[in-house]
Symmetry: C2
Amino acid sequence: MAGALPPPGPPASIDEALALVRARGGRVTAPRRLLLEALFTSPAHRSAEDLAAEVQAVAPDVHLSTIYRNLEELERLGVVVHSHFGHGAATYHLAGTAHAHFLCEHCGDAIEAPVGVLGPFVAAAERTLGFRVDPFHFAIPGRCAACASAPPPPAV
Amino acid sequence: MAGALPPPGPPASIDEALALVRARGGRVTAPRRLLLEALFTSPAHRSAEDLAAEVQAVAPDVHLSTIYRNLEELERLGVVVHSHFGHGAATYHLAGTAHAHFLCEHCGDAIEAPVGVLGPFVAAAERTLGFRVDPFHFAIPGRCAACASAPPPPAV
DNA sequence: TTGCCACTGCGAACTGCTCGCAACACCACC
DNA sequence: GGTGGTGTTGCGAGCAGTTCGCAGTGGCAA
């Protein structure tokens, strides 16, 4: 690739992410590299604990708090984003793949939301309330098609 | 489970709520009554801890876990609902006053959402994905008008 | 009045996350 | 190829919010 172009969006590779880390004075360490490898090798949403397990499969000494600190740092640099699915732990994924989620509270299934569904809602919220919705940070709860069509469970 | 007692809507008074408790075999106890009083005397959103403090102002011995257990029970009976504001504790309020919330992640302000803003979005989600959105359970994050117009904080 | 059992208070435990601290090791500079 | 400053790490304690187990209490039907 050409020389000194600052990446306009989120980094597309581990090396680009590490360059970003270096650019703001950070250092390239083994836990950091392993965490990035875990993030880049799969687009899935994983909790900090899942990611820690993946890193620890290679380097068992890496501590959970190191994972949290690195995720926080990478989020500040725009490499990853986190979102919340229901009541449980936060999940992390690459910033480039940010998208909204619908979470079925019945079967636990998460549906990745095409932006088109949210666009009019986001626009309406801004027009009516001046509120700029961030639809990525929290999953939108409800019932998926399969569970919605099934008879609702008894109230007790 | 046998639907011998279909309550048409959420109870409108403490006594109605207690009748509901009795109808499913429950008992009317002092902590339960005090909790309902706290819930019915103000429409505000309060955390379990806030509600415990209100109850404990009258009956200091009531334990926080009793509050949680009663809230769970009342939720099962359809008397209260809980919702989540950002990362903090869950908040509880009467089921009859359910409404969506927009939560500003910058100043922490919560805006109660007129249903009109959400209607088209809920309809679109159902039409496109078959997904039945429950917009009440989690606050919708973003930036309020004041914070959105202010210059965004530097990325680092 | 009696007795069953729903409910309570209490404290420990759990989950998800953050913090303080001393030791370590990356890397700019020589 | 050293060397030193300092960013990062591992560790463990601690926090908030919530749940659980247990033995004792007391509401209420009979």
